[in-house]
């Protein structure tokens, strides 16, 4: 049926809770209120307060308790209300969720899916619009996923539920209700660790994900550039093969993300392109990203986030090389 991303995520969670009684949802306002974006709406009535749990305001407690639940044989789906509040749980994620398997040599694991809304463009208050994918990808041990459409959102979440790993599942707030798409009613998986080539092309490779996917698609369509657009879908582990083979074909690479430019995921991707395909490039690798400063108040966000015009200018620049 036609669904937006909120509906697709809700139907994924519904099927996960239906199929696996180890699965529990916990977070602030997730039960009676169905989450501030309604992603968990109706699940309390269907699965009861033992499995859909309103927690106190306690991000480290939510993630720490979820880690314990996972170590104790459950498969928790904690929700952190906004990415900017998740730093309170950063220690739990980096020191524990990311390390348990490795420090116990795979005798213990933390199967857990942490869901949180990310990125801006919807004029929310301060601290509600961060794009934190690089923080969680850097140290290793956490799978970092970010869908850009309803179909992928459902399939990736179901895939995450079937993994024995901690998954950081980033949901772009701006895309929650931006458009609808045909989403199958049944359970299906979208692979984690595998990028999606959303447009094939021969002149330029654009690697992007999350909120920037529709921005890049629109810019490319309007210009009529024969660009290959890769929607990464999984930030960590990176699908290097798809990126490198595309760049070898096109000879040009651009990375577009909403996270800040400096030390962002674009730097990592550019470095890998340099290591594996530099002699096949006929232009420098370019990055289009938000400014290297903290996410501003909503009054300034239009000057901060890369928009279609900026992507378009960079395409021109690259194509003139």
């Amino acid at each position: 049926m036609m669904q937006n991303m909120v509906g697709a995520l809700n139907s994924a969670l519904d099927s996960i809770l239906h199929d696996d009684d180890r699965a529990v949802i916990l977070g602030e306002d997730v039960a009676k209120d169905g989450g501030v974006f309604r992603v968990t709406d109706g699940l309390l009535d269907k699965y009861g307060p033992q499995r859909v749990i309103d927690t106190p305001l306690s991000e480290a407690g939510i993630i720490g308790t979820s880690i314990g639940m996972a170590l104790g044989g459950l498969h928790p789906f904690p929700e952190i209300q906004f990415a900017g509040f998740m730093y309170l749980a950063f220690d739990q994620l980096i020191n524990h969720a990311a390390r348990y398997r490795s420090r116990t040599r795979s005798t213990k694991s933390v199967p857990m899916v942490v869901r949180t809304p990310v990125s801006g463009g919807v004029r929310t208050l301060e601290h509600h619009s961060d794009s934190p994918e690089q923080y969680y990808s850097h140290g290793g041990g956490l799978i970092v996923v970010e869908p850009s459409n309803p179909y992928d959102a459902k399939g990736l979440l179901i895939r995450a539920a079937h993994m024995d790993d901690p998954v950081i599942f980033l949901e772009p707030t701006k895309l929650y209700r931006l458009f609808k798409q045909e989403v199958p009613d049944n359970q299906y998986e979208v692979p984690i660790g595998k990028a999606n080539v959303v447009r094939q092309g021969g002149d330029l490779t654009i690697v992007t994900w999350g909120t920037m996917v529709p921005v890049v698609k629109n810019a490319v369509e309007k210009k009529g550039t024969d660009a290959e657009i890769i929607d990464l879908r999984t930030i960590n582990p990176l699908d290097e093969d798809t990126i490198i083979s595309s760049v070898k074909k096109t000879g040009k690479a651009m990375i577009v993300h909403e996270a800040q430019l400096s030390f962002g995921p674009g730097a990592e991707i550019a470095a890998r392109i340099a290591e594996k395909a530099i002699f096949e490039l006929d232009a420098p690798v370019m990055r289009v990203a938000s400014a290297s400063l903290p996410y501003p108040y909503p009054g300034y966000e239009q000057y901060y986030i890369p928009n279609e015009a900026k992507v378009s200018q960079y395409i021109d620049k690259m194509m003139s090389e």
Partner: protein
């Protein structure tokens, strides 16, 4: 109008005093002389294990070590109160609890030699491995307790935090969650008076640490943490009531040695303080009691000591034979090995960086 909204008080319990006299009214029914003897043997074993680990570190055969000496009663009393079905979540100092729960000594030595393989805790031990970042394990204990409750496996979770650890937000978040959700959790505050160089008085203006439970709406008690019977009784009672919700037990003990082998207490702690705690030693009072009853003497002590040493030495020998496999770092990060990570591993192996 002003009226009292809430009031509370914190009880302190001591069953056996410093001279070895027992308050018979408080003595649990299942604690007879043979049980007290067993408690003594475990405490003595823990102290010997501690001495050995310390000496290995001093010889450069272990990376670091956090001694437990002085805290044997808190650890052994609580460990003996746990059943097989109860789950144990340590911090980094509970070697005594691991001993009673039969974690192979080999694993303890391997851990302090600096190898992850020392954190492989068999299912029968029913425990997490050592956890270093202070207090961050406490929400895990709550989560495991909730999982046990959800899965109806029975049993409580017993976890440990130091006096310094109670100043961390995670301590409050863990007991607050547990209180709301009635998690079967026993939170033992191993109050040894010191957080590296900072005395208990620098952690909080609260008169007791047990009263921190009041803010989470859960019961608590303070006990003589150098009295193994008090700790045993408080833990046993808490476990038996854990189905109704969490309990905090503050054990007043004293860190007789350094925080870890990386610091020198003479820099920040007067020796007179340590001397004042010597008469309160947790082993001394039990030995006096057993000797008075004719159940213990020097000959028995030295036989027991030899048995322990034999076991300890065998475990040390085994740990020293361990050979690290650098590939294991890469192979155990995820449930699968990503292509990019495999490439790093293979490149490092091929380039002989690991020679």
């Amino acid at each position: 109008m002003i009226k009292e909204a809430f009031s509370t008080s914190i009880n302190y319990m001591q069953v056996m005093d410093e001279q070895g006299n027992i308050d018979q009214q408080l003595l649990p029914k299942d604690v007879d002389d043979s049980k007290i003897l067993e408690m003594y043997k475990w405490m003595s074993f823990a102290r010997q294990l501690d001495a050995k680990a310390l000496s290995l570190q001093r010889q450069g055969r272990a990376v670091t070590y956090a001694p437990l000496v002085g805290e044997e009663a808190t650890q052994i009393g609580s460990a003996m109160a746990m059943g097989q079905n109860d789950f144990f979540v340590p911090n980094f100092r509970q070697h005594g609890v691991f001993l009673v729960r039969r974690l192979p000594l080999y694993a303890i030595f391997l851990y302090w030699k600096g190898f992850e393989e020392g954190s492989v805790v068999g299912k029968d031990v029913n425990a997490l491995p050592y956890i270093v970042p202070v207090s961050t394990q406490l929400p895990h204990a709550t989560g495991i307790a909730l999982a046990q409750k959800y899965r109806k496996t029975g049993g409580a979770v017993v976890t440990y935090v130091g006096d310094g650890g109670t100043s961390e937000g995670n301590f409050y978040e863990a007991i607050n969650f547990a209180g709301i959700m009635k998690a079967p959790l026993v939170m033992i505050i191993e109050n040894n008076g010191w957080a590296i160089s900072e005395p208990r008085s620098e952690q909080t203006a609260a008169q007791t640490l047990a009263q921190k439970a009041v803010a989470a709406g859960i019961p608590s008690i303070q006990v003589d943490g150098n009295d193994v019977i008090s700790v045993y009784k408080a833990t046993k009672d808490a476990i038996s009531k854990a189905a109704d919700g969490p309990i905090v037990i503050e054990c007043i003990t004293y860190r007789m040695s350094m925080h870890t082998t990386a610091d020198d207490p003479s820099k920040y702690r007067p020796q007179a303080d340590v001397e004042a705690w010597k008469p309160k030693d947790p082993l001394l009072r039990v030995r006096n009691y057993l000797a008075k009853k004719g159940l213990w003497d020097d000959a028995k002590e030295s036989t027991l000591s030899e048995e322990h040493l034999k076991e300890i030495d065998a475990a040390v020998d085994e740990a020293e034979k361990f050979k690290a496999d650098p590939k294991s770092m890469f192979q155990n990060l995820y449930s699968f090995i990503p292509d990019t990570l495999k490439e790093e591993m293979d490149a490092a192996a091929a380039a002989n960086f690991w020679q």
